[in-house]
Amino acid sequence: MDSGLIIEKLVLVAIIFSISLLIAMYATYFERKVAAWFQDRIGPDRAGPFGILQPLADGVKMFMKEDFIPSHSDKWLFILGPGISMFTSLITSAIIPWGEDLTIFGNTVALQVADFNIGILFIMGVLSVGIYGIMIGGWASNNKYSLFGAIRASSQMISYELAMGVSVITIVMMTGSLSLKDIVQDQHGMNWNIFYQPVCFIVFFVCALAETNRAPFDLPECESELIGGYHTEYSSMKLGFFLFAEYVSMFISSAIIAILFFGGYNFPGMDYFSGNALAILSIIAFFTKIFFFIFVFMWIRWTLPRFRFDQLMHLGWKSLIPIALINLLITGLVIALNKGWF
């Protein structure tokens, strides 16, 4: 590996970073707008034209807010919590293939920071580590609501991680690879997994909602019960990190849903293009899908009532895991039958 490649990757990382931060920022704006539209309101419209500077205003506000650390808390862990949350949601984007290879100045540039053959597992790993952010933050705050929220959050996340894992395995079985790039390429054109695995998709989607703590699974921070949940004691940008991490995760989850079930950057009729045109179109296709799913996330959030904790656990353990497992078995058997192993 030479230094040229490193610079190339560095630039790519920087771009992806800015894009995901930007998208997360504007996802907050978009969320508020969407909520407003659903509710026949206007939404933020006073910060800049149409309120488009709203996220900026919020950001500045949060930076300028007192960075508060309660006296009974464990200071370093208190800071570590939101740090981990933000950090984990930021590094996931490394393995997402954003589009077909681009050619710049004669160099082929892969639009993926790192392609390794265990991509999906990497996501699962990051997910499982992401729990620490909330747990540590909630625990370090030394506040009952925080602790309660943290425990709820981590119980919820670990419960849904299982079903998520099983549904991912179903997809891996169809593809035979853990690399996201392979999974995308396997769905070339319109050969999307959603057509083969709708049940799997639903399970995965529900789990994604739960993992990002979005409604109807937003119990950990459900304010009518626990005030702010795990971030009750957080102020300024540390709070910002928790909130922001949710939006970054939402962005990443949408990307992963698009990759696993909707062909990633594939789009119908892509065979007619080639070269940079193809690359750019594929990026556009990919982001369209991502935005669509971000919208669906929000749509659900503003439509559905929330689960109760026991129902949430029941749904995770007693419905989703068995459904995912059975789906896995059926998939295996069907493929086996097709191959004539029996």
Partner: protein, 170 residues
Amino acid sequence: MTLEMLAIVLGGLTIGSALMVVLSKHPVRSVLYLVVTFFLISANYILMNAQFLAIVNIIVYAGAIMVLFLFVLMLLNLNKDSEPITSIGIKLAGIIAGGVLLTVLLAALKDGLVITQQAVESANNNGLVENLGELLFTKYVLPFEMSSVLFIASMVGAVMLAKREKQIID
């Protein structure tokens, strides 16, 4: 920076954070240091090209087992002060015993088992999930099934313990 140096730095960090696991007074910090240790060990795995194991190590140890530990700490509300202080004597004895153990280990491993000093190139792909899977489902299929029996056993154990515990409360 050569790979050697990288490996040494990694190794040093690993040892450091492992030491912190033992040294930190606060159990929650111990957990966190242990998580860090696992990450560093995973990095070592990656260096040895055991990619699959590296990530599984993170998922299983850092993502699951240590979460369980953290849960227990929250469950029991263990603060710093709850640990009784070990006497200096025991500490000393422990350290000496550790040192002895270390020497014995080093001696035994060095003499007995080493065949190759240099990594075998053909091992390059051993760590890949395909190859591991193949091994797992052919040569080691019996232990594979056994492990699931073991899981059932520990599930039963855990559930029984929790159940018994309930009766005590009621």
